[in-house]
């Protein structure tokens, strides 16, 4: 399953975790619940390891989008891009590869991930 799209989803999830872990207020809230949130270092090395597997051209797109938006990869739900909330053209769904091939929103350029259901 380690195709490029899923690696990009993993990278986005990891970056979400890194960002949240770096948020002191949020980390304090988790710690007050009794969770331990330690050093961020393991996440940085996981990230370094992950990006080695991602195609350079996709990484460039990811980095460029990340500098502009909160998230570079966004889900498609109810035929809508959850980045810009515009509808995604039917051609996106008609291809059986929608599940695996890296495609971007025609409107906002974000990388799309089709959710189940």
């Amino acid at each position: 399953m380690h195709d490029q799209l899923h690696l990009l989803v993993s990278l986005q999830d990891l970056d979400t975790l890194i960002k949240e872990t770096g948020d002191a207020k949020r980390t304090a809230e988790l710690e007050s619940m009794g969770f331990s949130v330690g050093n961020i270092e393991p996440l940085n090395s996981a990230r370094a390891h992950l990006i080695e597997k991602i195609d350079k051209r996709y990484l460039r797109i990811y980095d460029r989008l990340s500098s502009k938006h909160v998230r570079a990869v966004v889900p498609v739900e109810n035929k809508t891009c959850l980045g810009c909330f515009q509808s995604v053209p039917p051609s996106f769904f008609s291809e059986i590869t929608a599940d695996r091939v890296v495609k971007v929103c025609e409107n906002c350029g974000r990388i799309l991930y089709l959710l189940t259901g």
């Binding site: 380690h2 993993s10 999830d13 009794g34 969770f35 949130v37 393991p42 189940t116």
Partner: protein, 156 residues
């Protein structure tokens, strides 16, 4: 924010007795339940993300409870997978003891209602009661679990 925990538990995401005996196995088995329920297409990404979260510190918070959690793009709404283990799962818990009650909580990053932290907090608060933990372990089916959670919701 008032959270009614009973509303977040679902019968097809309840594992009455885990086969797994360790953390890796438990995370995999619970992720698999999510894939089998069709709420998630592929389990690998979620499993990796949960492991990355564990690398910051175990979510085994003591008293036989673990609350593995994280956000992933691959899920459309906040979801709780509840599993039990009578024998206990080795989870690198803070008190070094095996866990018997596991509440895996996953949420999408774009979740607008922002229920993620409140739900985590509510789970932790609910299982602080030794009586509730005992009842959850003894319950014979999902209906009983729902009743216990509803009672805990009312008591809050």
């Amino acid at each position: 924010m008032i959270i009614r925990l009973s509303e977040f538990f679902e019968e097809d995401l309840f594992i009455s007795e885990l086969k797994a005996k360790d953390k890796v196995g438990a995370l995999k088995e619970m992720t698999e339940a999510l894939v089998n329920s069709k709420r998630l297409k592929h389990g690998e990404g979620l499993y990796e993300m949960l492991q990355q979260r564990e690398s910051l510190g175990s979510t085994g918070i003591g008293r036989g409870v673990a609350v593995p959690h994280g956000r992933t793009l691959a899920i459309s709404r906040l979801t709780v997978i509840f599993a039990r283990s009578e024998a206990g799962v080795e989870f690198d818990s803070m008190d070094g003891k095996p866990v018997h009650l596991l509440f895996m909580t996953v949420a999408p990053p774009q979740e607008r209602a922002n229920l993620y932290l409140p739900v985590l907090g509510k789970i932790v608060e609910t299982v602080k009661s030794a009586k509730t933990r005992r009842q959850l372990l003894k319950a014979s089916d999902f209906d009983e679990i729902t009743e216990i959670l509803e009672e805990a919701d009312e008591g809050a």
